[in-house]
Symmetry: C2
Subunit: 356 residues, 2 copies
């Protein structure tokens, strides 16, 4: 058990910005929003999954939409409305909250209703990174019900999906509603049991994000290499260091989609890497060779400061380090890969695990 | 109090095909669907609004989508699912059903859940014709709550909108969901009280449709002019008789939109009429002169048989009679015209009542 205060919040959003693989919503805006609520309501308690009581009822909340829109149309406390809407619909009183994904602003979205309702959050999430679509959660892959879910916007509109033929259908309907809501909305899913969370969540990702962020901040303070600090905290490899020389990005069908090209610098001079993204970075190639694909993590940080660079902030000329981290084990099973492997995103290739 | 059996069903769908002003869903398919349920469950009782008991709870059901799709993707008994979903969400047990619009298949959509649940229907509806959008109901114009509403498709997906900032927002969200559901879906709205129905519904439109259809069938049997029979039953005028010489129709944004041109024949030789539609016929012009606009009714029937011609069935070469009927009085108030007057459909003209 530990607490999220303003200082730890900053570390979490840096770490979750890295783990978000480019997506999950802008971490800086997420931090500002969560900070405002923490200032008003005080710190939030974090429970390890193993600390949940057997009769716990855990509601997952998350943002949905295009991160490119999320930096212009800032959310308010709609995740609290969505949380209360799902409590009301199910008639169940929640005892804790959990993040949908440890990525960007979504890593701290659950802190907002938790602080407002005076509830703890769980140290874990449903992805262990960020993914662009609703159904891409370990919860659902391993049998947790994907309905009812509630969707809220900042205007006062609420939509509940009580029945759907598959989690993909929830994604399809919720995405269409989100686009009408202005391309950014927040949702909450029916409560999970402690058993379900322990069995299906990616555990301890909030503390991992905290530790990653703390390591980056520490390195900055001592003018050490933040990339070394990241890799010492979370095992992974450097895939490329260089400069963004091309960027193609569009906000379409409710997502930020596109690709970038990075020309190597220093040790990587003469090399070139192409990365494609749908909110999150999906595949990294050097020429025809695939260097890293979903569900493994492809993460961009600013080479100097270790600051995560999310897809909505990508710009020509940025000096970046591309990091690769292996996917959580729950994703590399056949069931997991069917939902978030390269083929699930339309790539005609099998998943080859990152070579550490 | 009267009953809808198979024979009366046929009359209703002819009459509602006329009153539907081109929309409301294909009446023939609506008839087949309702007939199947009537055969299984027996006739349905129709109550005059004044016959409703003071504690009655009346659920409005209707179809939503593009009629052009509705003739290819036939609905099943989803209106029963939507009806039960709204009962479950509100916790209220309904005592009767009412049609959203006396147009095409929607005029008999409420018979399906009514027969299946063994409940009566109300002789009336929320439009007194058909209109393309959810919020265009006298119920909502005169203060009946427009939420919660439930939306169902044939696959097993259900969406509930418990809160929305306006009825137009329900339309916007429900339309986006309907497009995902395949451009055809069915909805049910939270129960109304007897007082609300008496005050805001267009009364006795189901019996009007029945009488119109019976008059057309009678005329056909005696080889009399069906158009004369229609006008003897429901006061209106002939706006044009002629041949469809041009048609432009597209299924876009969840609607069947387009326009047609009719060249006069016989007494109307040398005249030409243009009609624009969005599921329903909206405006009829001769040259620059507006002949008839919403909310007044512009209705096409086959000149020989009096068979209504809905927008999804329009074809080059059809010999048609264009009829005009005055809108119900609840629509010609400032509040009514704000929602369904010509300006509500983007026409830069005020409403001028049809000159009988």
């Amino acid at each position: 058990m530990w607490e999220v205060d303003e200082d730890i919040l900053e570390s979490i959003t840096i770490g979750a910005g890295i783990l978000g693989t480019g997506g999950g919503g802008n971490p800086y805006i997420g931090r500002l929003r969560a900070r405002q609520v923490l200032r008003q309501h005080g710190p939030v308690t974090v429970l390890d999954p193993e600390e949940l009581s057997s009769d716990a009822q855990i509601v997952c909340v998350g943002g949905i939409g295009a991160p490119t829109v999320g930096i212009e149309k800032v959310r308010d406390t709609q995740s609290y409305s969505a949380f209360r809407a799902i409590e009301k619909y199910t008639g169940i009183t929640a005892t804790a909250l959990i993040s949908n994904e440890i990525g960007g602003s979504n890593s701290v979205e659950e802190l907002i209703p938790a602080a407002m309702a005076g509830l703890p959050v769980v140290d874990g999430d449903g992805m262990g990174r960020a993914f662009p679509e609703y159904h891409m959660k370990t919860f659902f892959v391993y049998g947790v019900p994907y309905v009812p879910m509630a969707l809220c916007d900042e205007k006062g509109n609420t939509v509940i999906i009580p029945e759907a033929v598959s989690p993909e259908w929830v994604e399809r309907i919720a995405r269409a509603v989100t686009i009408q809501m202005g391309c950014v909305a927040v949702y909450a899913v029916a409560p999970m049991s402690a058993e379900q969370v322990v069995r299906t969540a990616i555990p301890r990702t909030l503390s991992l994000a905290r530790d990653l962020g703390a390591a980056v901040r520490e390195a900055r303070q001592h003018q050490e290499d933040p990339v070394d600090a990241i890799l010492a905290t979370c095992p992974g490899i450097v895939l490329m260091q260089g400069k963004i020389v091309d960027l193609d990005r569009a906000t379409t069908a409710g997502f930020a989609r596109g690709s970038m090209t990075i020309d190597g610098l220093g040790h990587y001079h003469g090399q070139r890497m192409d990365i494609e993204f749908q909110n999150e970075n999906l595949i990294a190639r050097q020429g025809d060779a695939i260097v890293c694909t979903v569900p493994d993590l492809i993460c961009l940080v600013d080479s100097d400061q270790g600051e995560p660079i999310t897809t909505e902030l990508l710009r020509y000329g940025f000096r970046v380090t591309v990091l690769g981290f292996p996917a959580p084990a729950l994703w590399t099973t056949p069931e997991g890969l069917a939902v978030v492997g390269p083929r699930a995103f339309g790539y005609d290739t099998d998943y080859t695990p990152l070579n550490l």
